[in-house]
Amino acid sequence: MKRIRVLFQLGIVIAAAVTGIRFSLGHSLTSVEKYCPFGGLETAYALFTRQRFTCAAGELNLALFLSLILLTLLARKAFCGWVCPVGALSEWTGKMGKRWLRYPSFDGLWKIPEKTRRVFQVVLRTIVIAAVLAATWTTGELVFRGYDPYYILFSVHGHDVRMWSYIILGALLGIGVIMPMAWCRFLCPLGTALWPVSKIGFLRLRRSENACTGCGACDEACPQSLTIATVPEVRSGECTLCLECTDACPSPGALELFTNGKKP
């Protein structure tokens, strides 16, 4: 399954890059921003209050956002772990850092206590999503575009991308090496919007206490740095169902995918 997921991620990254290059060369009228589901959330307010889309956001953004909510209800944050090209690049830079700097888990160079990390996550993400939505909804413009790593990376110097956009992108990728998935875990507004839906998601990973040897390989492999080895079920809304933990697990059947419901 790991190979299939990498193929998904590679395919999406290549498709986004090709779309961006074709648009920038004038071979296509379709910009990468048309495929961003967050654009659907950004335009939702204007759509309900003024019956019109915000700036360049359109039907595809809205439909993709709605289908993403459906996916999250079914498979939690699978979008982040399987589809999102920024998530893929964050994960790859994190893996690079893990290998080069030889830290044991996706916690990075410094292991932040879980409670502190959660507080940071909630505060930073709330600030980011509130600022982005408030600015977009009041101005009617996609003001976040110049700061959006997806747009900076794949638009090939698109509209609103300035020198400081690349500085921000470089900083995010750099931080991602020493603190893996920093963007996804602490800043991504789409991840924040999906979190409450993911929390009640239908599929989840369960750990069999009988089969588990308690080696902790799952904790080390989890890109989101979730605690898996000591809980009966991964309930965190941050779980992307990337299945890195099941691949890392040496004990067959110790970690498996189940539907949300009473334990058999």
Binding site: R52, G58, L64, L68, L70, L71, A75, L203, L257
Partner: protein
Amino acid sequence: MRVPTWVLPFLIILCAGIGIGGARLLVMPSVVKNYASPPAGASLATTILVIDGLKCVDTAERAAGQLEGVPGVVSFTAFASRNRAEIVFDSNICTVNDIINAIEGPVYNASTGEFLFGVYRIVEADGVQYAAK
């Protein structure tokens, strides 16, 4: 209930299909502009143009402004996310070429007082590649 892991890629492809397919059902114009009412006996026709440069609400409004004052043009409806515009006109008074020339013409920038050239380029007119016409 235990679920096989292949369900995950299946669900992702299914939801992506629902999203992309669903976008076809959600049709909402970015800008609708009505010009002068057509006179009695007008022969109304509609042309559908795919316009390079028509990419957001602002550019759609500006394209609508290009048709202001063009005789015979009745209404302009833009679907910016599809780069598409539907224009209703009186075929007794103007032609599709008049509309194309007006849209592709220089755009007046009120804030600088300058004319901008090449802002809009017609890619397709009524399903036919415009350059090939």
